[in-house]
């Protein structure tokens, strides 16, 4: 549990969470149950964000803003009703609570006597600088350094767009099981998009490091190197030939390459898909679903990671979930509703973009665990194939396992060596097949940052892996 310095508070006006003391929270939750349902929950959010855009080395837009409101949810069995509002007058909030109860229908616990007890949590994600305490000019200084470095990388670089984003999110979560908890999530991210032009062809390169830290993050990373990395991808790709088409062996580089696990397997392990049998991995706990060299975890407890938090958005303390061990399916990611439907405990995986979304089971920091091989050995083992050096995003249909993801920087592997750059490759397949085709796992695990979109909106999530080799995957390139 964090405490906020008074100086920060007075700068920001009163903090909305303070209005929802135990008595008020009890009244709201009690109102839901008076009209229906067997469980009620509230989620109050007060978030302050800063967004700055730099194009061609100049700040074009600067925006700050405050979002706040309350989300109220009720369950009756495994039926869920959700409502939100940012008219926080007592009358309105109680009217919304009543509507939720009425929509649930059946009154089960009308005379519930609630006794919320505040849970004091150890804060695992210490923030050194609050975003509001750092001058915007200082933030812009780091952005300009990243810009200069990207721009100076090559005369082919025609444009560099740098986007800076930070936020300070305070949440209060209470429910009729006695949970009453607050959490503070601070996140900072720098996103660099570089464009290279050659002979009328344009290509872009992207790198977007972030963390669950304040702006001290900008000092922790090498912003110049971040700029160079985006520029390198653009410059390499503007000279690249289209990737070849067809099935081939693919080596996927570490860090953001982990998006393959996120899409191909991760989403299909979320309770939102599993509970209703809408996942190819439903009913497969304890079974061998992947190659023996594959282990993977989802871990929201990693200090200051992009997808970490002390509690999830349902107030459940986060934990490290081993999803797959030696290729055997060990656990799903389960939220409260999923827990009711599946008869299994929640895993601290209930997340949402903000108070306008009902929470559901989501990933946090999800990655493949390291294996035995040096990355050079993995590459050297391939006669002909694709080296996916930098991945873009992807997507999946959990019910069929069909996934796709983009290679933003690719190279051919010929006779165990990385050779020509190739562009425009998308990798597709079925998750349950791909995970069985992983043949080698490297020892160089790293994580990369991204935004994950699903039922409960867009949330920060880390993906990660060491360098891996997939025996065979369809590369969507061009035909000769």
């Amino acid at each position: 549990m964090r405490r906020y310095s008074k100086s920060t508070l007075s700068e920001r006006g009163d903090i909305v969470l303070d209005r929802f003391d135990k008595r008020v929270a009890e009244e709201i939750l009690g109102t839901v149950l008076k009209y229906g349902g067997d469980f009620a929950e509230l989620f109050v959010e007060d978030r302050y964000s800063t967004n700055i855009d730099l194009k061609n080395g100049k700040v074009e837009t600067a925006q700050t803003g405050r979002m706040f409101g309350i989300g109220i949810r009720g369950f009756l069995g495994d039926k869920a009703i959700y409502a939100y509002t940012n008219d926080l007058s007592r009358d309105n909030v109680l009217a919304v609570a009543k509507r939720v109860g009425e929509a649930l229908g059946e009154v089960r616990l009308a005379d519930l006597s609630l006794d919320l007890r505040k849970k004091e949590l150890e804060n695992r994600h210490v923030v050194i600088l609050k975003p509001q305490d750092v001058r915007k000019g200082t933030k812009v200084g780091y952005m300009k350094r990243a810009y200069e470095s990207a721009k100076g990388y090559s005369p082919l670089i025609a444009q560099v767009v740098v986007h800076y984003w930070d936020y300070d999110q305070n949440v209060l979560i209470a429910n009729t099981e006695g949970v009453y908890v607050t959490d503070n999530r601070v996140r900072t991210r720098l996103m660099i998009n570089a464009v290279a032009v050659k002979d009328g062809q344009m290509e872009s390169g992207f790198y977007g490091p972030g963390a669950g830290m304040g702006p001290e993050f900008l000092e922790r990373i090498d912003v110049e190197q971040a700029g160079t990395r985006a520029a390198r991808i653009a410059v390499r790709m503007v000279d690249a030939q289209p990737a070849p088409a067809g099935k081939m062996t693919v080596v996927i580089s570490n860090e953001f390459g982990g998006v393959i696990f996120h899409e191909a397997v991760g989403h299909a392990l979320e309770a939102s898909s599993v509970a209703k049998g809408m996942s190819v991995f439903a009913g497969k706990l304890g079974q061998q679903v992947g190659a023996e060299c594959v282990g993977a975890v989802d871990d929201a407890t990693i200090p200051n990671a992009w997808g970490s938090a002390n509690v999830d958005d349902e107030g459940t303390p986060t934990q490290r979930n081993v999803l797959i061990e030696n290729g055997v399916l060990k656990s799903y990611m389960i939220d409260k509703l999923g827990s009711r439907r599946m008869g299994m405990s929640p895993t601290g995986s209930g997340r949402r973009q903000d108070y306008t979304f009902a929470p559901t089971s989501r990933m946090s920091n999800t990655f493949i665990l390291p294996g035995d091989y040096y990355p050079e050995e993995v590459i050297a083992s391939v006669d002909y194939g694709l080296y996916a050096k930098t991945m873009g995003g992807g997507s999946v249909q959990p019910a069929t396992g069909e996934f796709n993801f983009a290679v933003n920087e690719g190279y051919l592997i010929e006779n165990g060596k990385v050779t020509k750059p190739v562009k425009g490759a998308t990798l597709i397949g079925k998750g349950y097949e791909i995970i069985q085709k992983i043949e080698m796992v490297g020892n160089d695990v790293e994580r990369g940052q991204g935004m994950c979109g699903s039922y409960s909106g867009s949330i920060p999530a880390d993906v990660g892996e060491p360098t891996i080799k997939v025996r065979e995957i369809l590369v969507g390139g061009r035909n000769k």
Partner: protein, 440 residues
């Protein structure tokens, strides 16, 4: 509009004067209803509303911006925006609009979905579910119904004060059918009135298509003639939105930079921006800067006619603003592709041999609007002699959007409406050649 907003606005306008600046304030109120069923059971139900206030402060041609979701502390909101100006050092001059232009008289959304009893709204998903389940091979299904209403008011210290109400309903259904590996098919529809939403049709379509996909196989890699069905074509057209932004052209982020007047598409390809289309739920008489919207040809018989502008880019290029500001970016109100005369079935006949693409995945990652390159996971049906012969899975289609516009051979008459960044009203098209990767 609420009294609280008036007080807030007056305070913000007063502060603008005090700080010798101009200010624009927008007040948006949303209602949001959504219900999702999985396998006939209610999975999620949301009934909610919120508001948001955006404040833009303009001083010496520079803009600072802030937003809030409470009427409290207007001074803090104003000062946040005002202080943000101090870090802006771009060379472009920003403007506000005084509201003196002529606005189209558009029919606002009448709230007809909101006025339906909840029972009827849930009825849409129950109907779609029972339609999907009319075949025993269906493994599972999902149906979603939603409706939205947005009231927007924009006012500034130059005299602009405009408002509009937008909204409508939509539904989505997905069927998953048993096969060697499960197959899925989805159908989507939207409309301005309850009678525009046909749940029986949506459920039927999802079921029939999922069943038709049983036994899908990949194809050999190669170049194919394809149909991009209207829903798929609307997805891929999303790439054009970024390319026709004058802001992106100025900033070297559009491959269409310096190409006005050039032939960039085939003769049959005409794309317009429409402020109003009866099928769309994204109509608007003004853009987010309050500038009147207007009909315009963006691509006319293949010739690139105009970029879309906001006040800043229009001034820079010495042209009239086109009414296409969309917050910090620029976007069409309704991107409309002029339909041809052939029905969908006639398009299949015209295709002869090729692949009908019914779904592409990964637009956000596999399509790059800066280079124009795309490579997307896809599925559809193999077509021989104008007839669908079997389902196609595990393929990708790859190409360059700029090259593809030249290869549009035929345009169908089957217009449908979709939502993206703005609305889309789009028919199906035949593309004469595209790269397909397959596993056979």
């Amino acid at each position: 509009m609420s009294k609280e907003f008036e007080t807030f606005k007056d305070k913000i306008f007063f502060l603008a004067k005090k700080y010798d600046s101009d200010v624009q304030i927008s007040y948006s109120q949303n209602r949001d209803f959504q219900v999702r069923y999985q396998n006939g059971d209610m999975d999620q139900y949301t009934d909610a509303g919120k508001f948001k206030i955006n404040v833009l402060v303009l001083k010496d041609g520079k803009l600072g911006s802030s937003y809030t979701e409470t009427f409290e502390d207007p001074e803090k909101v104003f000062l946040d925006a005002y202080e943000n100006i101090s870090i802006v050092d771009g060379e472009d001059t920003e403007y506000f609009y005084d509201g003196s232009g002529k606005y189209l008289r558009l029919e606002p959304y009448d709230g007809s979905f909101e006025n339906l009893p909840v029972k009827n709204r849930i009825g849409y998903v129950e109907t779609a579910h029972s339609e999907i389940r009319k075949d025993e091979r269906i493994l599972s299904d999902m149906a979603v119904y939603g409706d939205q209403m947005n009231k927007l008011r924009i006012a500034n210290t130059l005299g602009l004060d405009v408002s509009f109400i937008n909204g409508g309903g939509f539904m989505y259904a997905m069927a998953i059918v048993k096969d060697k590996s499960p197959r899925s098919a989805a159908e989507f529809t939207l409309g301005r009135r309850p009678e525009d939403i046909n749940a029986v049709f949506v459920g039927n379509k999802a079921r029939e298509e999922s069943i038709a996909l049983i036994g899908s196989q990949s194809v050999k890699s190669g170049k194919y003639r394809i149909i991009l069905r209207n829903d798929v074509f609307s997805d891929i057209l999303g790439m054009l939105v970024s390319m026709i932004s004058a802001e992106n052209a100025h900033k070297n982020l559009s491959p269409l930079k310096d190409r006005l007047g050039e032939k960039i598409g085939s003769d049959v390809f005409t794309v317009k921006d429409l402020p109003f289309h009866p099928m769309s739920i994204s109509n608007a008489p003004f853009d987010t800067q309050g500038v009147p919207t207007s009909e315009k040809a963006i691509i006319e018989k293949g010739i690139f006619r105009t970029f879309l502008h906001n006040l800043k880019t229009a001034n820079k290029d010495g042209v009239k603003p086109t009414g296409n500001a969309m917050g910090n970016s620029i976007a069409p109100i309704n991107l409309y592709v002029e339909p041809g005369t052939k029905s969908f079935d006639e398009l299949l006949t015209a295709l002869g041999d090729g692949i009908l693409i019914i779904q592409v995945d990964g637009m956000h990652a596999g399509a790059n609007p800066i280079s124009g390159n795309f490579s997307l996971g896809a599925k559809g049906f193999k077509v021989e002699n104008g007839k669908i012969v079997r389902g196609v899975e595990e393929i990708t289609i790859s190409g360059n959007f700029l090259e593809m516009m030249k290869d549009i051979e035929e345009i169908g008459s089957d217009l449908r409406a979709f939502i993206g960044l703005g609305g889309y009203v789009v028919p199906s098209v035949i593309v004469s050649e595209i790269d397909v990767a397959g596993t056979m």
